[in-house]
Symmetry: C2
Subunit: 191 residues, 2 copies
DNA sequence: GAATCGTCGTAACAGATGTTACGGTAACAC
DNA sequence: GTGTTACCGTAACATCTGTTACGACGATTC
């Protein structure tokens, strides 16, 4: 009856399949089975397969936004906030490792699709701007080039680390990821 | 007539589709069309679709290996070699941006597939070990933890930067990527 | 109580996909 | 010339996929 709740349940099924089986197995029928409903309901809630991806992506983006905003609000200093939100983006727990897989699924689905690429760019720039804002607060006297480079390095390293870790957690443990984050923040003068 | 040459041509078609249309559009027929042959020939050269992915991946791995070994041989110092091979892994040119997309396609195809994941881990550890060897040569007095963390950071940052860049080259230009690499090497004391 | 509307499950459909089987063709051996 | 073999293109097959259409069921309204 509650359409929004149904959409959310279906989007969670999309995440689950993306993380567990990969984008190649993301079919309407698989989503319906995972969500515990029929393909009919899925198609009544979403106009098509791509809308499924878009909504699941938007929802995940919104979730991480509130999570990150809470971390930011709870942090004592901009530097603590910076570290907290970057750590949140890595694959430190089972859940965040799965999220990294989901993001990768969205990314893989975006190749060759202008609409999804545009969506990715928009969301990713929001993320980068958030990190940039915190870096600016943490080091207000830096010039723009230095800030931009540090932001790029931090965003790239955390994203890359998450990806490496979720495919080879033995080689790249949670402790190793945190060590990377801490040494980078220290090396760039943001610790 | 030359089976190996045919396999290579077909694998290049796989790369092309992976970079241009994404893994979801990687079908036998699309590969055959891209390679300029029939699906019959593709299936005579490869036992199935997954073998297509595996061979294309192995071939790309071998290509980057010889490229990286030449860069390493031509470098004057271990630090120069380190920078050269890491730069090679970023999306600094149109070709390397496409390669980053291809790697992502392989990665996306590996989700939920134990055989492909194992292959990815093996190849990726080879890559990490190569970086580790150069870091060790560049900073022989470091303890193992410090080395491992630096290696992880460098590998993660370059891979992450390549991924960010190939989806949003305006925001993450080649110059910005090189700035990230240089500042990271400097920050970790490896410049 | 009858009509109407929203909700959703079932089934169908057209097209695509991986894979297999078969047939033709050219080179080669004798 | 005839048989044999390797090669590969065509077509078929079963299955899967996204999407659409239709009908049943329940609530609501008059």
């Amino acid at each position: 009856m509650d359409h929004e709740a149904q959409q959310e349940r279906i989007s969670k099924a999309v995440w689950s399949i993306l993380a567990g089986k990969g984008i190649e197995h993301l079919t309407i029928r698989a989503v319906a089975a995972e969500a515990g409903c029929t393909t009919g309901l899925v198609m009544h809630r979403f106009p098509g397969r791509k809308a499924l991806l878009v909504h699941a992506r938007d929802l995940l983006h919104a979730r991480t936004r509130v999570r990150v905003e809470r971390l930011e609000a709870e942090a004592a200093t901009p530097r603590a906030a910076l570290r907290a939100i970057l750590a949140q983006g890595m694959a430190l727990t089972e859940d965040s490792a799965q999220e990294a897989l989901v993001w990768m699924g969205f990314l893989a689905a975006s190749v060759g699709d202008d609409e999804l690429i545009a969506l990715h760019r928009k969301n990713n720039r929001v993320w980068r701007d958030r990190v940039a804002r915190l870096v600016e607060a943490a080091a207000p006297d830096w010039d723009e080039d230095r800030r931009a480079t540090a932001v790029f390095a931090l965003v790239a390293a955390t994203e890359g680390a998450a990806q490496l870790a979720c495919f080879d957690p033995e080689t790249y443990s949670a402790a190793a990821q945190e060590a990377v984050l801490d040494t980078m923040l220290a090396a760039y003068g943001l610790a």
